[in-house]
Amino acid sequence: MGSLSAKEDGTPDDVTGLTANQILHIRETWQVVLSNKRANGFAIFRILFTDYPFTKKLFRSMDQVDIDVPEQFEKNIALRAHITRFLHSFDTYVSSLDEPADLQQLLYDTGKSHLRHSVKPEYFDALGNVLMKGLTAVLGKDFTEEVQGAWGTAWGFFVIHLKQGLEDAVRHGAETNGTAAGTDE
């Protein structure tokens, strides 16, 4: 299982561009993020809402929430649930870094699933900056140039397929006038 090229001789995978070593770096540092899911999950979303305030309106009742008031921010149930789903979903990507076909499908489907939340494909670009800033905050000095490079390559792959999934869903929705006919899966 998994493509031999990425595994054995340190060359980047044809599809993802990741080397085996980079996959290791990502997995190790991802465990650090998961070691404190609640705090780190919120840290990432705090950066999102601070740097890209327009994204607040995508979340139920976030408009009234002042992100600088911890009790308000962290008491938003819909957001707390989304952060949990986000971390677990992201975890499936990290687990699939060595299975490009699986990874691509997971990302594509995630992109597609954001149609019903009024997310636009370009919003996913914002998440890249947020991710890097979030990892810097969580990992500190452990976010070395090498680790940063690994995450950058992974994100470069992620964002393509996240956006593709959503773009296709938007186009499909426009073509069929919003009437669903069975699942796309």
């Binding site: 899911k37 707390r80 789903r85 499936t92 499908q105 699933s113 019903r116 929705g173 069975g182 699942t183």
Partner: protein, 165 residues
């Protein structure tokens, strides 16, 4: 022990521990055990496979190498894992349960199918745990999934009522 009548699912600390412990065993083979859940569901009710437009015509024995099937398996297992991880947070659990339902609206999944997969999940756990699948394990998971199914169906109906895509 929680006897909060407004709780989404009243699990004792013992039941939560049982669920976590047994899920840890099932998680050792996410793809394999997850595939077995879906395959068992298709076996119990072949109509459930028809909802999957992209692989309904692929024979069961070829599904495990089909990316779209594998992706759904991954999501199902991740979804259960997220629930198991959130057992102490009733409010988040409710949101998770309803979201599972809402996600299935675009595919027009009949609400009864949530009951079919519930049975399939218990079968998978039986297979995984062997003699470790005690009455206590069955009871805890049945309680959890009873609540999940109930609220997922509500979520699906709400999404249908709103007519979101």
């Amino acid at each position: 022990m929680s006897t909060d009548r407004s709780a989404v699912v009243s699990l004792t600390e013992g039941e939560k521990a049982t669920i976590r412990r047994t899920w840890a065993v099932a998680s050792r083979d996410m793809m394999g055990n997850g595939a077995n859940i879906l395959l068992k569901m298709f076996e119990i009710n072949p109509d459930t496979k028809k909802v999957f437009a992209k692989f309904r015509n692929i024979p069961d024995n070829q599904l495990q190498s089909t990316p779209r099937f594998r992706a759904h398996v991954t999501r199902v297992m991740a979804s259960i894992g997220t629930v198991v991880n959130s057992l102490d947070d009733q409010e988040v659990l409710l949101d998770l349960f309803k979201d599972i339902g809402k996600k299935h609206y675009p595919a027009r999944v009949p609400t009864e199918y949530f009951d079919v997969i519930a049975g399939a999940i218990l079968c998978m756990l039986q297979q995984c745990l062997g003699t470790g699948y005690t009455a206590e394990v069955d009871s805890a998971w049945t309680k959890l999934y009873g609540s999940l199914g109930r609220h997922a169906k509500d979520g699906l109906r709400e999404a249908a009522a709103m007519g979101t895509p």
